[in-house]
């Protein structure tokens, strides 16, 4: 089939008139052939065929209730996939189970079947389903209700979230056998009123946690505490539920699930579901500026590849890593595809910031096939069922391999070929992946890391727990040791929020404050603390945004992009969490410039790295990190040139966390032949390389690891500069999450290996003077450094005796 044919057909037949949506059987194959013949493949650094996987079936479990069996029969299910049968069997024995099989392998049946079985055999049994988003609960509620009706179960399945009407809330409390909600609602709306939910808690047989992989970092640490509280409440009401987890692929599903619920969990990870072949491509846009290591725009490249796919009738999902990226791609795609007579409405954005109504409308249009290409941030990773997609294009590496495979997993059919494309950006980690693409299948996949004992998180939840039930002397809170629990409660007592009463067995701690602690604890940044974005023309709320993003996205004068249109922020009302915007039509967008400063609060560990002539000081401890947005750049659409700057005046954001640091003495800097500023700039380059290899080595999202170059001693560093003479330049790598989740200490332990890997990265990078993939491009803004940066970094490493191991 010729390429021309494909184009002609697309032009003759406008997509909005196609009756059978997205139904082009050979579309993906055709595009692949075309890319091979037209030179596109020259920039493909890796082309990998994932083989199809045949189905593995198991018989219906013997004990399955006849009504449930009939319901399955009605759905054409006569046998189960092996993993579904396995899950049923383990759950029936009361074992906690985590099912970690690929997207679209029928995971929901793995938990629905044991739950329905329980309800069929005991009408008073209850189950609690937790989904990370409201949209997912609604989706599941519909499916479950139909299933339960067919299984002749009269017990209700009710979604209880912020959108549930008052009447339905009462019904949910009194009657729901199966309650679907999200962790936030459980935390703030249900558990603090657990006595009103006595029916649910005293008969609680199963707790289903879907999309387990999304609960990592802060959110996961919160969830683990929510589960500790849940189990306390369940114990009070006399129940001891079995946990059923479902997860996308992560490196440690079993350990992670076990950390979340605090008990051993059985793992099921061999999927019995069939999958069609998948072609994976890693496309590294060609270098356009070899000196600076700048590559062709990955955004534009992703748009071009997507255009090829959509024109050939291949239903495509495009992922961007930022809201801005998504909006820019949406605008470009609509512009370009208009030339192919494809209506702009057939290409749509989908992202977390959309209000629920908008999201549901888009989901419906997707299912109906009215939308042929969706541009999304990670919202779709969450498994919303939008029907069969043939291709996924990731504009930029999502930061983790698990995240990438979850995105790739959104495309895929039972039999036919699907296409998964990663377009790497100039970001260091992207370049690392593009240059080591085999790691995508050979390296171990990332672990989901949480720290339920993170002190800030733990204390917040202990307050909530004390509000829910007084702490008795023999009380258990997850696996927190008794003495630590006692100290934490004494801490709360000293702060007057709990009141200790002495008894012969020990102290009882009662909540003693005129407040509702759950309201002050947000499980994720994106919930109660959201800023609303108000369009001044029409005075309507067009979106919400997580407050952490407001500093960089909603500062005054920022161009905010929403559904392909541009708005300028006229006023940011920080106190009331509102941003007022007005529709504009600029030829540029804005990106914020941030500055961060680290101050050591307490040093826990200290070591000298003595490998060569000059020793290095390494440390580990608690730091305060102050981040501030200092200004923004205006970037012109399409050409991406920098067309101006502006100042931003926003409060600083401060957090306490754990950091690893590496100090180069001032004497060492002075002893170098190069000027001080250039040596410091080289060290900053080294910190970038350490950040890249650190993130890759720890298998984490690079955003979880903060980096800055400053002074070991804050007082000596001029604020905002960090380059004045007389201070010891120090590289800081720190946990982005306040309180830390243990990344810094891992880096400290592997400090020498970290330096060696950084050296290896720099040595093997093909750029000349530093590129985003290693030490970063020269950032001196016009002051041309005289020395070759890369050579200087390597010379500095020589001086401290770091040689590459590889």
């Amino acid at each position: 089939m010729s390429t021309v044919g494909g184009e002609t057909r697309a032009a003759r037949q406008p997509f909005r008139r196609v009756d059978e949506p997205w139904a082009r059987l050979r579309g993906a194959e055709e595009v692949l052939e075309r890319w091979q013949s037209n030179g596109t493949f020259r920039n493909v650094t890796w082309s990998h065929r994932v083989d199809p996987h045949a189905a593995s079936f198991a018989d219906m479990p013997e004990g399955l209730a006849p009504s449930v069996r009939r319901a399955l029969h009605g759905r054409g299910i006569e046998r189960l996939y092996s993993h579904q049968a396995q899950s049923f069997e383990l759950a029936s024995k009361g074992k906690h189970v985590v099912v970690a099989t690929p997207t679209a392998s029928g995971k929901s049946l793995c938990y629905n079947l044991p739950v329905l079985q329980a309800l069929a055999s005991d009408p008073s049994a209850t189950a609690l389903y937790l989904f990370p988003t409201k949209a997912l609960s609604r989706d599941q509620e519909e499916a479950l209700r139909a299933f339960m009706r067919d299984a002749e179960l009269s017990i209700g399945a009710i979604t209880y979230d912020g959108d549930t009407p008052v009447d339905a809330r009462r019904a949910a409390r009194q009657r729901a056998g199966l309650l679907l909600t999200n962790p936030d609602m459980l935390h703030a709306g249900i558990m603090p009123h657990h006595t009103a939910w006595a029916r649910l808690f005293s008969n609680l047989k199963y707790v289903v946690v879907d999309e387990l992989h999304t609960y990592r970092g802060v959110f996961g640490s919160h969830l683990a505490n929510v589960m500790r509280r849940l189990l306390r409440i369940a114990r009070f009401h006399g129940s001891s539920p079995t946990f059923l987890f479902a997860s996308a692929t992560i490196g440690n599903p079993q350990a992670h699930a076990s950390r979340i619920c605090g008990e051993p969990v059985e793992l099921i990870q061999d999927s019995g579901a069939p999958t069609g072949p998948r072609q994976v491509l890693v496309y590294n846009p060609p270098i356009v500026n070899a000196e600076l290591g700048i590559r062709q725009s990955y955004i534009k490249t992703a748009v071009r590849l997507t255009r090829d796919l959509v024109r050939a009738g291949v239903p495509t999902l495009v992922f961007g890593n930022s809201r801005n990226g998504v909006e820019v791609m949406l605008k470009y795609l609509r512009d370009r595809l208009a030339r192919d007579h494809i209506e702009p409405s057939a290409i749509h954005a989908y992202r977390g910031g959309y209000l629920p109504d908008t999201r549901r409308r888009i989901e419906a249009a997707l299912r109906a096939g009215e939308i042929r290409c969706v541009v999304a941030t990670n919202a779709l990773e969450l498994g919303i069922d939008i029907g069969a997609l043939d291709a996924v294009v990731c504009a930029g590496y999502p930061g983790t391999m698990a995240g990438l495979w979850q995105r790739f997993g959104r495309a895929g059919r039972r039999r036919d070929l699907s296409l998964s494309v990663l377009v790497s950006s100039s970001n260091p980690v992207d370049q690392y992946v593009a240059r080591h693409p085999r790691q995508l299948v050979s390296a171990p996949i990332e672990h989901a890391r949480i720290d339920p004992d993170n002190i800030e998180i733990l204390i917040q939840h202990l307050k909530c727990a004390a509000f829910e039930l007084p702490f008795e002397p023999d009380d258990v809170y997850g696996d927190v040791p008794d003495d630590a629990l006692g100290e934490a409660l004494d801490y709360l007592a000293n702060n007057g929020v709990v009141h200790p009463t002495s008894t012969s067995a020990g102290s009882i701690y009662h909540w003693a404050s005129d407040s509702y602690p759950a309201n002050n604890v947000s499980l994720r940044s994106a919930s109660w603390d959201n800023f609303v974005i108000i369009d001044l023309d029409g005075s309507r709320t067009i979106a919400e945004m997580d407050w952490r993003s407001t500093h960089t996205m909603l500062h005054e004068q920022a161009i905010y992009q929403h559904e392909g249109a541009q708005y300028q922020v006229e006023r940011l009302d920080f106190e009331n969490h509102k941003a007022f915007v007005r529709r504009v039509d600029p030829d540029y967008y804005t990106t914020a410039m941030t500055h961060s400063k680290v101050n050591v609060l307490e040093q826990d560990e200290h070591a000298t790295i003595d490998l060569g002539e000059v020793p290095l000081e390494a440390g580990l401890g608690d730091v305060s990190v102050v981040e501030k947005v200092v200004g923004y750049k205006k970037i012109k659409f399409h050409t991406h040139e920098n067309v101006g700057y502006g100042e931003v005046h926003l409060p600083e954001m401060e957090k306490h966390t754990s950091a690893f640091w590496l100090t180069f003495s001032e004497d060492f800097v002075q002893s170098q032949p190069e000027p001080r500023a250039i040596v410091v700039d080289a060290l900053r380059g080294l910190s970038k390389a350490m950040h890249v290899v650190g993130a890759v080595g720890l298998m984490i999202d690079p955003r979880d690891l903060g980096r800055t170059l400053g002074s070991r001693n804050e007082d000596e560093a001029p604020p905002g500069k960090g380059q004045g003479p007389g201070f010891d330049p120090t590289i800081f790598l720190y946990d982005s999450v306040a309180g830390g989740i243990g990344l810094a200490s891992r880096l400290y332990e592997e400090r020498e290996e970290l330096l060696r890997r950084a050296r290896h990265l720099i040595e093997t990078c093909e750029c000349e003077e530093g590129c985003p993939g290693c030490i970063g491009p020269d950032a001196s803004d016009g002051d041309e450094p005289e020395a070759a940066r890369k050579k200087l970094v390597l010379a500095l490493l020589d001086a401290v005796g770091v040689s590459a191991t590889h």
Partner: protein, 390 residues
């Protein structure tokens, strides 16, 4: 960061609470042994002639339970024995609700002959709720109804939570008279706020001296728990007793004034009572209160509304002349075009359907647009013209 290290860090940055100076006296009341443990009980009788403001509280016993049931929109209250009514009010550690809000003082009261008996159950330390709850449970089970102010939304759900948490079986609640809802129904049009303190001043003529502010009460209790001075707690106990007494006085006033028309009452009150009577199927009472409201010399809007209600009641009784008089009275009272338009709609309907006087109906129908909209008014006029010419 280990938990212990983290705690040390947090402790550095958060100020420790100051110790409260320990100057304690004795709280009123005393400990009473019960089969469920010691209970701190404040138990007292009021004089039979006790007045709250200008209201003798024993007059609460005299009110008609039919009126009471009507006012509460709850037929269950019709035949209750007021001598077994239990008044209750709680003081709590907060207003947030949920499992962490504790009622540390549960006030209950009932009549014994003409005297009010007040018992206040005080929580001397956290965790000793069981004796209080058992005591309350027994009292509730003996009662014909419970009377509260906002108890349906606040106090009772909170108490139910305490029963569950302390594993004491909750009593099944007899009919619940929540005076907040009654007060809203009757007094909202006249008083902007129907908070208890406002009602006390404006309905009962009672001004408390040296009362504690409700907002401070949780902290006063926490201070007490921490060993602080007891005198603020004694004031909280007095405050709670006064709230209980106010409940009885309010029953007397709210229901008493519904039993028969008090000429000196505000026409807005009369109108509100008329509406309650209409809603509960008591047209005769509705009409007499509506007439009182119409003749009360109130604002035009109130008079017009009263006349219209009066006309509706007359129609029910088939008294066509009275209906006409009431409607014309409404028209006379209406002092704005908008009010007149509303009345003219009623008059147009009245003459068209009741009097079959199409000409007069048309006369009024030409001025209804402001009330029913241009389109509906035009349809009405056209229909009447058509019928007149046929």
């Amino acid at each position: 960061m280990s938990i212990k290290r983290g705690l040390a860090r947090l402790a550095q940055t958060t100020p420790r609470k100051l110790d409260v100076a320990s100057v304690r006296g004795a709280l009123p009341g005393g400990l009473r042994e019960t089969e469920h443990g010691a209970l701190h009980l404040i138990d007292e009788y009021l004089e039979p002639r006790h007045h709250h403001g200008r209201t003798p509280i024993a007059s609460a016993l005299q009110v008609s339970t039919e009126r009471l049931a009507q006012l509460a929109l709850n037929p269950e209250l019709e035949s209750i024995d007021l001598r077994r009514a239990l008044f209750f009010d709680t003081e709590t550690t907060g207003l947030a609700g949920g499992t962490g809000t504790v009622p540390f003082l549960i006030g209950i009261a009932w009549f014994e002959d003409e005297s009010m008996r007040i018992q206040q159950l005080f929580l001397p330390e956290m965790g000793k709720e069981a004796p209080m709850l058992h005591w309350l449970r027994e009292r509730v089970q003996q009662s014909s109804c419970v009377v509260s102010f906002n108890g349906k939304a606040f106090d009772w759900p909170l108490l139910r939570t305490r029963f569950v948490l302390n594993r004491v079986p909750a009593p099944s609640l007899p009919p619940h008279l929540d005076l907040l809802h009654c007060a809203r129904r009757v007094l909202r049009p006249r008083l902007q706020s129907v908070r208890l303190v406002e009602l006390e001043r404006k309905v009962l003529g009672m001004y408390r001296e040296d009362d504690v502010s409700g907002a401070l009460i949780p902290q006063l209790y926490f201070d007490y728990l921490d060993g602080g001075d007891i005198s603020p707690m004694a004031k909280v106990i007095e405050h709670n007793a006064n709230d209980l007494i106010a409940l009885a006085a309010l029953v007397a006033e709210l229901v008493g004034h519904f039993d028969e028309v008090h000429g000196s009452d505000d026409p807005r009150d009369h109108l509100a009572y008329a509406k309650v009577a209409e809603r509960t199927g008591d047209p005769a009472r509705a009409r007499s209160f509506a007439v009182a409201a119409a003749n009360g010399g109130g604002e035009a809007r109130c008079t017009v509304e009263a006349c219209l209600l009066s006309a509706r009641m007359a129609r029910r009784g088939g008294e066509i002349d009275d209906e006409e008089r009431a409607l014309l009275g409404a028209l006379e009272a209406a002092d704005t075009d908008e009010l007149r338009a509303g009345v003219r709609v009623a008059l147009a309907k009245f003459y068209e359907h009741r009097r079959k006087d199409l000409a007069r109906a048309l006369e009024h129908a030409t001025g209804t647009a402001l009330a029913e909209g241009e389109a509906a008014a035009e349809r009405r006029v056209n229909r009447l013209r058509r019928r007149l010419s046929s």
